[in-house]
């Protein structure tokens, strides 16, 4: 039987998540492992903050989690698995033929709120959910994880502008600031700095955090709950975090670890 795991919120170590990601990406030869490894602590902090029971029951007042940088969906699915939202067979089917778990987030996967992959879509949709929840006077929050390279898409700025203008305070944007996009550095390609100042000028309540310090991210999420403005948490991260030869190396935007690299990756995560 493929029982859904019943992990408690306290028992989801980030190292376990990373190991699962390495395994499923290795098994399927999938892409984007570097992008996935940079947002583990962000996703884990978010899923530890939300009421999983409401998500499982799909209540109208559940918190929503949307991974706008949908190419990092190995991270979303693996965090969901370790939080009991996907079962073992499901997670190990990742990126294989006939699986629902594609290389980008799909709403056909249980508990995934919205399909993403084309960048610049998740944030506008999240604003729509937040506006809808507010109109219905439901207290839930909407957490959306956006990549830093993704911020080049203009649609994001349409959303930042309107969310700030309307003071949609139940919207929480977590920016995975890993400084790399597919071809190179974000700051070299098209600078998004000064990001904090920019978002503040759009009337966001902006926090900064070590993006690999889950506790710090969780604190910012909790502390911003009663914000009167939409919230942005800029999470400073490292692409490929946790595996020395993948860190800050864009080779791993597409490559899947095989052979000695796979063994070495698992060893680093175990030691």
């Amino acid at each position: 039987m493929n029982q859904i795991q019943t992990s408690s919120k306290q028992k989801v170590p980030n190292a376990d998540i990373r190991r699962t990601i390495v395994e499923i990406v290795h098994n399927s030869g999938a892409a984007h492992i570097g992008s996935a490894l940079s947002c583990i602590e962000i996703l884990n902090a978010v899923f530890k903050n939300v009421d999983l029971q409401k998500i499982k029951s799909q209540t109208a007042d559940r918190d929503r989690v949307i991974l706008s940088k949908g190419h990092a969906t190995a991270a979303l699915y693996t965090v969901m698995y370790h939080h009991g939202l996907l079962n073992r067979d499901e997670i190990y089917s990742y990126s294989k033929n006939d699986s629902l778990l594609a290389g980008h987030s799909s709403h056909h996967v249980p508990f995934v709120e919205h399909s993403t992959g084309a960048l610049g879509h998740g944030l506008p949709v999240s604003l729509g959910i937040a506006i809808g929840l507010k109109a219905k006077e439901l207290p839930a929050r909407v957490f959306v994880i956006v990549g830093d390279g993704e911020l080049h898409e203009g649609s994001n700025w349409e959303t930042f502008m309107l969310a700030g203008h309307l003071k949609i305070a139940n919207l929480c944007v977590l920016i995975d600031r890993n400084n790399l996009q597919q071809v190179g550095k974000v700051e070299v390609t098209c600078s998004i700095e000064p990001l904090k100042t920019k978002l503040e000028s759009f009337n966001f309540n902006v926090f900064e955090s070590d993006g690999h310090n889950e506790k710090e991210i969780a604190e910012k999420i909790t502390n911003s709950k009663n914000s009167s403005q939409p919230v942005a948490i800029i999470c400073q991260t490292t692409k490929g975090k946790g595996i020395s030869f993948m860190e800050n190396n864009n080779l791993w935007h597409y490559r899947a670890p095989q052979g000695e690299e796979y063994k070495k990756a698992l060893k680093e995560l175990t030691s």
Binding site: A60, V125, G128, G132, A135, L138, E158, M161
Partner: protein, 292 residues
């Protein structure tokens, strides 16, 4: 807008979004339903994304903007955020065909149908009269699937309610020629047929999906089919050709509509419709030639 207003009173799920369009038209709705209306500003990508999010939160959105910006600026949002999810959202586009001819190519729209009909799940309506707008609204406000409603600037009235969504506007039992039109071009075809009395006119108010049950008997009865539309050949004409080919029907099919090009010189709707043979006298001239 009156139908929308009534529907919003009836159905508390309806949320009206607009992209800074509808001055002196939408205000009563905004006043009555402040919690279910929003002007997102000049930001159509955002509007479509927001509408998808509103469905997630339990609403049934209606997005209103000039057709060009509603459908083409944000095509990927319509594809991924609406059609991929099969979300029940109505895209109500104001201005069709050459309505905005004098505003030039960025504002007239002759490729929206061809553009949108490639997307799975979407329903495409092009109402041809004030009565058919009512019939379209009656169906679209059931919110079963994504829908695009192409609203032309026309007050053409048949003086009676629609008997069905797609129907004869004028039936000539002795003619072998059938004109099929949609939107504003139904009026032009109707006026032409009233003068020459040598062909029938059938209005297709719902372009996607085509109503096979309605169309098949027509193709069996009429040998020559003339599609009249203020859209490139990628619109209804293309759909009719596909329908005939897939059903192995051997009708002669003709097209009256714009060339696949953008105008260099401006023109008001009548001027550009005249240029492309869409005015009643030109329609009659075309049909006289094919009748021989």
């Amino acid at each position: 807008m009156k139908k929308l207003h009534e529907a919003m009173r009836r159905d508390s799920r309806i949320f009206f979004l607009m992209g800074d369009t509808g001055f002196n038209l939408v205000e009563p709705i905004f006043e009555e339903f402040p919690e279910r209306t929003l002007n997102v500003g000049v930001a159509e990508q955002n509007m479509i994304g927001i509408s998808a999010g509103l469905v997630n939160a339990g609403f049934r959105p209606v997005c209103y903007a000039i057709s060009n910006f509603l459908t083409q600026r944000c095509f990927e949002q319509i594809r991924n955020d609406i059609c991929l999810h099969n979300y029940p959202i109505i895209l109500a586009g104001t201005s069709a065909g050459f309505d905005n001819g004098t505003l030039w190519a960025t504002h007239y729209i002759v490729e929206d149908i061809g553009c949108l009909k490639t997307l799975p799940n979407i329903q495409i309506y092009s109402p041809s009269s004030v009565e058919s707008i009512e019939a379209v609204c009656d169906e679209a406000f059931n919110f079963e699937k994504p829908a695009y409603v192409r609203i032309a600037k026309s007050n053409f009235s048949m003086g009676r309610k629609n008997k069905s969504l797609d129907e004869f506007i004028l039936e000539n039992p002795t003619s072998s020629v059938l004109v099929i039109a949609h939107g504003k071009m139904v009026k032009n075809a109707y006026e032409a047929a009233n003068t020459s009395k040598n062909f029938s006119v059938f209005a297709v108010n719902k372009i996607k999906p085509l109503n096979a049950q309605k169309l098949t008997p027509l193709f069996n009865k009429f040998k020559k089919i003339v599609v009249v539309e203020d859209n490139f050949k990628s619109g209804l004409y293309n759909s009719i050709c596909q329908f005939l080919a897939e059903n192995k029907l051997k009708n002669d099919v003709y097209f009256i509509g714009p060339e696949e090009e953008y105008e260099k010189h401006i023109g008001d709707p009548k001027h550009l419709e005249e240029k492309y043979g869409l005015m009643p006298d030109k329609i009659n001239q075309f049909i006289s030639e094919i009748v021989g």
